[in-house]
């Protein structure tokens, strides 16, 4: 046990060092791609909080991501950079508030019904931006300038510079990663895990499970919003499609591909998804055929996701063959 956590710690340090060193060697495009993986990693971790730990499968998580991205684009002035801390705080607050409102309603349902109501709300949010002139309609809206991280007259770094933006995103991702780990170790997190394995028991133990679930829902929504802010800053373009259920499905796919119930798995899933899409689309125009095949293979042969791969291999070697 201690050896295992020890190796995991070393592995995480190595990965972090590699990520920190990457802009020194990588080209501009790939640095941006890794930044995107980190943003999607935050997004996936936030969803994993619901799906993997609390047992709430949401197919509407893109709503909070997209609402925050729109908030950034709409709050920022057209001809000047906005203040990063202000737009960041405001956008995350807005997505948390939206999650609170939706959570109060949807948490009354469970199972497949929960999946469908969350989908319904994200579709409503999608139509709000797609069908009205609020955010530029179906064509989307530009964020003309990357926000400035000004504190008073002092600017500690400059996001307009690619590598500084990268490090900012990396720092946020690490903070979210560490933060989620801490939350999960806290009494609050233990109740969430308890709810996943047996909600009835938690309730009979005297926990107000609804409030805990709502807490998880709002926290997940706020973190998804944080990812949405970073997405808007990174790409400078916000479109209604960010809120569509396809994006919700996409991020759910990342969580499962990487392995549910593990922040490492969520980030891994985001990375693997982006890498596979990139590799396959270079190979053939019918790359989605390959993508579909990989998804099938993961479900059939690797139920625990990528994170379970080392364990499965070890097991395979020990027993000398596959077994269920």
């Amino acid at each position: 046990m201690t050896i295992k956590t020890h190796t995991a710690g070393i592995a995480q340090a190595v990965v972090l060092a590699a990520l920190a060193a990457y802009p020194l060697v990588g080209s501009e495009f790939y640095v941006e791609m890794v930044a995107k993986v980190l943003v999607l990693g935050i997004f996936a971790m936030s969803l994993d909080l619901l799906v993997g730990f609390t047992g709430l499968v949401s197919l509407g998580h893109s709503a909070y991501f997209g609402v925050a991205a729109y908030a950034v684009a709409l709050i920022a002035p057209e001809f000047a950079p906005a203040n990063l801390w202000f737009v960041l705080g405001a956008a995350v607050l807005i997505s948390a508030a939206v999650a609170l409102g939706i959570g109060l309603l949807v948490l009354r349902t469970r199972g497949i019904y929960f999946i469908m109501v969350t989908l319904a709300f994200t579709q409503m949010a999608f139509f709000l931006f797609h069908d009205t002139a609020l955010g530029g309609g179906s064509d989307g809206i530009y964020l003309n300038f990357r926000p400035e991280p000004r504190i008073g007259g002092w600017m500690p770094f400059d996001l307009a510079e690619g590598s500084q933006l990268y490090y900012f995103i990396l720092a946020v991702a690490v903070l979210v990663f560490v933060g989620i780990k801490r939350v999960l170790r806290s009494p609050f997190g233990r109740v969430l895990v308890g709810i996943k394995s047996n909600e009835h028991r938690m309730r009979s133990l005297g926990y107000s499970t609804f409030n805990y679930k709502l807490g998880a829902f709002v926290l997940a929504g706020a973190l998804a919003g944080l990812a949405g802010v970073l997405y808007a800053v990174l790409f400078g373009f916000v479109t209604p499609e960010l809120l569509s259920w396809h994006e919700s499905g996409h991020v759910l796919m990342m969580v499962i591909l990487g392995g549910m119930g593990s922040p490492v798995g969520a980030v891994l899933g985001a990375g693997a998804m982006v890498a596979l899409e990139e590799a396959f689309s270079l190979l053939t125009t019918h790359w989605q055929l390959l993508m579909g095949g990989v998804i099938l293979a993961v479900v059939l042969f690797l139920p625990g996701g990528l994170i379970a791969l080392p364990g499965r291999m070890r097991q395979l070697i020990k027993s000398g063959g596959p077994h269920e």
Partner: protein
């Protein structure tokens, strides 16, 4: 024979761009890298293929060269997904380091591309997406379009209907930017001439349950209905419209995308529909006939408006390259050359407006079998008003 015409065209385009100076010298050793960002999968895959074919046809006709430079392609499937668009555009600009970005069909994706093009000062040619913004408020020196603005084809329809004595019109479109902008274009010319829009109906994209709207149209009894639809939605609307018995009592008009590539699937319900577009079948010009022959020979099918727009994107690029005699580092010179270009398009020659959108004839066409032959020119050399464009 064909080949000679095309060589002459290049030469002509180059000569025009240079203001009648010497022909461009060949730079055999040099190449231009073209980034094609078009849909290869999804709803618009067919359009993406047609545009690619058109572009490559021009290059192949000129011995694999554009303005004397060898062409190297970098291709990205944009899936018509705006959520991935910025990254996809960056793939071409930053990873593959293309000299010019060509794309795309979907307006939202094109907007994201234009943002990347503006940020990196990469030359960009839009071979379809009609978003008014691209050559309006978001116009930029390095962004050109060889297709149309959403405003253009439908603006031309207003006077046509007024001439027929039609006074009251109901409009119907999907509730998305392309549709709304097209309806605005029509409304502008139609109401300016004294026409009245009785009601503007919209349905959520990509919903195709038209029955409630047809009932409403029957109750409103306008003189005519003007619509903007394309692809599968267009097929279904025209079939439903005919099945509801409205076709004869309340004539249907539309922007030309309604009947482009969709008439066969309509199975006769589209017969006689009048639409306006920058291209038509059976145009009486040698340029078009040569183009159609060449296209059919190369790809085994008849070209459509999308193929023409792809072909003209290559022509426009050739004009720019020729203007700087292949020295494409001279971006400013290329832009000047492209601005001055007179494109000898299969649709009829067109020039480039100050906002970098085609100034072109819009045809009135009448569907006949699977074709859209031109009835007349509905608007001569129509330029988009380019509202909000401040070219820096």
């Amino acid at each position: 024979m064909n080949n000679r015409i095309h060589k002459l065209t290049v030469a002509l385009a180059g000569a025009v761009a240079l203001g009648g100076a010497t022909l461009p010298a060949a730079h055999a050793a040099e190449k231009i890298k073209v980034g094609l960002m078009l849909p290869a999968t999804g709803t618009y895959a067919k359009l993406g293929t047609a545009i690619t074919n058109g572009f490559k046809l021009y290059v192949d006709e000129n011995g694999g060269k554009i303005g004397g430079l060898d062409v190297e392609y970098a291709v990205v499937d944009d899936e018509s997904d705006p959520a991935k668009a910025t990254e996809n555009a960056n793939k071409l600009v930053k990873r593959d380091e293309v000299d010019v970005l060509v794309g795309t069909v979907h307006s939202g994706v094109a907007m994201a591309m234009a943002k990347v093009a503006r940020g990196t000062k990469t030359l960009m040619i839009v071979p379809n997406a009609g978003a008014d913004e691209l050559t309006g408020p978001l116009c930029a020196p390095n962004v050109f379009r060889t297709s149309f603005s959403n405003w253009q084809p439908s603006y031309a329809m207003g006077p046509v209907l007024l001439e027929k004595g039609i006074k009251k019109v109901v409009t119907l479109t999907w509730k998305y930017s392309a549709g709304l902008q097209a309806i605005d274009g029509f409304k502008e010319s139609f109401t300016a001439g004294g026409g009245q829009i009785v009601k503007e109906l919209t349905l959520p994209f990509p919903n195709t349950e038209f029955q409630p709207y047809l009932t409403e149209i029957a109750a409103l009894k306008p003189d005519a209905v003007f619509v903007f639809f394309a692809g599968g939605g267009a097929v279904k609307l025209v079939k439903d419209y005919a099945a509801a018995g409205l076709k004869d009592s309340i004539p249907l008009y539309g922007s030309g995308f309604l009947t482009d590539g969709t008439l066969a699937a309509m199975g006769g319900a589209g017969e006689g529909l009048e639409t306006t577009l920058q291209y038509a079948d059976g145009l009486d010009n040698a340029r078009d006939q040569a183009f159609r022959g060449g296209y059919a020979k190369a790809y085994g099918s008849a070209p459509d408006v999308y193929a023409v727009q792809g072909y003209d994107a290559a022509q426009l690029l050739a004009a720019g390259v020729s203007a700087v005699k292949g020295k494409i580092e001279d971006r400013k010179g290329m832009i000047t050359g492209m601005e001055a270009a007179k494109i000898d398009s299969p649709r009829g020659a067109f020039s480039i407006s100050a906002a970098h959108n085609p100034v072109q004839d819009i045809y009135l066409r009448k569907a006949q079998g699977e074709l859209n032959p031109a009835v007349k020119v509905a608007a001569k050399a129509l330029a988009d008003p380019a509202r909000g464009c401040r070219m820096q």
